[in-house]
């Protein structure tokens, strides 16, 4: 796969014979989960104030495999206290020291890539070939990118006049709250942690309650590297732990990835505390195939067919899932026929099997929601060209949460074209010409991602500039390098992640305005 800039070669040590990784806590497993995880506050694990834990289920089989602290407001308070205490020292660390920490975390992750990949697949349900080739290599690179970015960051010196100088320094915000989604638990935590730590902040992080466990496997690997209190993890439910974190009067910023209603609630809390937010709230991304894509049946055409099929990556549980395919009418029938052939080849099965291309949806309620959209799609008159149902797998997998890759043909006004289903469900329609394509592409409340496929360079450029979205992949899709800004237009959110510009989202600007003049200004 070429999901990252420079794919890393991974030596796999999966069980001989089948090549299928053993499930955690079974013979031959490369990783085992503890039976229980507490909150991590001030550099040590502490039981939740409530004394309560909740069971964590693997979507692979639908069965519980560990239990996790049910954190509440007192735990959040303790974590914020610990983070501020750590900040007294952490804020004065040199960029060299902070960059070194990030690089050491990256090295430790790289040495344990396979272990982390299996842990992530077990917690989330995504196929192991994605965690091995994308989630973990991207997370490792992300830490390294921000280690480099913070070293290269410059302040400013402005000579206002001969005797007056403005100095601009970057200073950390302090303690920040981060609420992590469940679709890429480790990678999304990394997107938030790496720039925050690089910039000199201390963090209180709340993992998603659907995927609360893999970050503790990560933490177990790196916690000896991180000064006490710099990273604190409070698990729990949104209403009990997330909301107290988001409205905590002593945090200086909230970063959230999720949906629009919670995004509004977080802004509401932030307005009460007068703090900034960054929000990444999803999308309904168009993937546009212009007619010249089909001018030849060459490797470029093959690449475009893969682009058509990218809606199934991560079971469609990606904020930028290319969930609307727009295909030009002149080549529609033939291109769609070839695209469906590619979709048919998606191998669904055990997420721990390296040949599996699509695994389990992350939770039962997520699967139920997708099924409800398959239902409304049919009711609205959309035609299922392939898939359209739950996938029934055998053996241990029978209790897991699996959905068939589905392609619906319909109109852009239908709800399945307008709402984020967050499943392997593609809404397919056609367009007549450039203006029609852009009009359909932009007829959405969101503007996070988009795809443009064309051989004509001028056409690519014009389309990319005309689409109202923060990221327009051109002749590619689903690449997430740390060095490219990611974020949304319209209702897809506020702010960006990735890229060195992300440092600004975790920094204050300190201006020292200094007069070197010998005498008074002359006013008094």
């Amino acid at each position: 796969m070429t999901i990252i800039d420079k794919p890393q070669q991974t030596e796999t040590t999966s069980e001989h014979g089948s090549g299928v990784y053993a499930a955690p806590n079974t013979p031959g497993a490369v990783v085992d989960y503890e039976s229980r995880y507490d909150n991590f506050i001030g550099g040590r694990y502490v039981p939740p104030a409530s004394g309560q834990y909740f069971q964590n289920v693997t979507p692979v089989t639908g069965k519980p495999f560990t239990e996790v602290a049910r954190g509440t407001a007192p735990d959040v308070d303790a974590a914020v206290d610990a983070a501020w205490k750590a900040f007294e020292t952490w804020k004065n660390t040199s960029v060299t020291e902070r960059a070194l920490l990030l690089n050491r975390i990256a090295d430790r992750m790289e040495q344990n890539l396979e272990l982390l990949a299996v842990a992530e697949t077990w917690d989330n349900g995504k196929p192991i070939r994605e965690t091995l080739a994308a989630d973990l290599p991207l997370a490792i690179d992300h830490f390294r990118y921000f280690a480099g970015a913070i070293r290269a960051q410059e302040g400013g010196i402005s000579e206002l006049d001969h005797d007056t100088v403005a100095y601009h320094f970057h200073e950390p915000l302090g303690v920040v709250g981060q609420i992590i989604p469940w679709n890429f638990p480790l990678l999304m935590a990394t997107w938030k942690l790496a720039p925050a730590l690089a910039a000199g902040n201390c963090v209180v992080l709340k993992p998603a309650e659907q995927t609360p466990a893999s970050i503790h496997v990560w933490l177990d690997l790196v916690k000896d590297l991180i000064p006490d209190g710099v990273v604190n993890i409070v698990n729990g439910f949104g209403i009990e732990a997330g909301a107290p974190l988001a409205q905590h009067p002593r945090i200086r910023k909230v970063a959230f990835t999720g949906e629009t209603t919670t995004g509004r609630l977080i802004m509401q809390y932030a307005s009460q505390n007068l703090i900034p937010v960054t929000l990444e709230l999803g999308g309904k991304s168009p993937n546009i195939f212009f007619e010249d894509v089909a001018a030849a049946h060459d490797s470029f055409y093959d690449k475009a067919l893969e682009g058509f099929t990218m809606f199934a990556l991560n079971q469609g549980e990606v904020c930028t899932c290319p969930s609307r395919a727009l295909v030009q009418q002149s080549v529609y029938d033939a291109f769609v026929a070839d695209g469906l052939e590619r979709v048919k080849k998606i191998k669904q099965g055990n997420p721990l099997d390296p040949t599996t291309m699509i695994g389990a949806q992350a939770s039962n309620d997520q699967m139920e929601k997708i099924l409800s959209y398959l239902d409304i799609g049919r009711q609205e008159g959309a035609k299922a060209l392939i898939g359209g149902d739950r996938a029934e797998l055998d053996g241990d997998l029978a209790g897991g949460f699996y959905i068939q890759p589905t392609v619906f043909e319909g109109r852009n006004s239908m709800r399945i074209f307008q709402e984020e289903i967050f499943g392997p469900v593609l809404a397919l329609t056609s367009f007549s010409d450039f203006d029609d394509a852009i009009s359909i592409a932009n007829d959405t409340l969101y503007g996070l991602g988009a795809g443009v496929w064309a051989r004509d360079g001028a056409l690519q450029y014009r389309a990319g500039r005309a689409i109202e979205a923060g990221r327009v992949w051109t002749n590619t899709y689903h690449q997430y390098p740390a060095h490219a800004a990611f974020g949304g237009y319209k209702q897809s959110g506020i702010g960006r992640e990735n890229h060195k510009m992300m440092l600004d989202h975790y920094q204050q600007t300190k201006n020292l305005l200094v007069s070197y003049a010998e005498g008074p200004m002359g006013f008094f």
Binding site: G238, E240, G258, E259, T261, Q268, K369, S372, I376
Partner: protein, 133 residues
């Protein structure tokens, strides 16, 4: 699905199943009067978020779809952003509940339950009555 009513006796855009009504009664005992706001977007999006009245500020950008009448508790208003409503206005929504976890800050998550929207297309008669025919 346990529809609490078949064909609506009065014109309504929203309804609630018996199972969801039971959960609302249970939650209301702890939280008092409740409301829903339908989310859009990522992860837990496209889901009804249940909050105690007063927790989530609605405003001019929201549409009140209707009010759920659940025996034993205060009426439960159901909102959605106006922009999203433009795409939903032809559908009737029934709030149901499934086993699950996690839903932003929606209050049922700790119960191991998740509210879910079931949809059906409004009939021609209903659309006409709503001025959409």
């Amino acid at each position: 699905m346990n529809e609490s009513s078949g064909a609506p006796t009065t014109l309504s855009r929203v309804d609630v199943t018996d199972a969801a009504a039971e959960l609302l009664r249970h939650l209301s005992a702890s939280y008092g009067p409740l409301m829903f706001h339908q989310s859009g977007g990522c992860c837990d999006g496209s889901s009804p978020m249940c909050y105690p009245v007063g927790m989530f500020q609605t405003g001019p950008s929201d549409e009140l779809l209707g009010v759920l009448h659940v025996e034993g508790i205060e009426p439960v208003p159901v909102y959605m952003s106006k922009a999203q409503f433009e795409y939903w206005k032809y559908t009737h929504l029934t709030i149901d509940v499934v086993d699950g976890r996690g839903s932003g800050f929606s209050i049922e998550a700790p119960e191991g339950k998740r509210f879910l929207i079931r949809s059906r297309m409004l009939t021609d008669e209903e659309l006409a009555a709503l001025g959409l025919g």
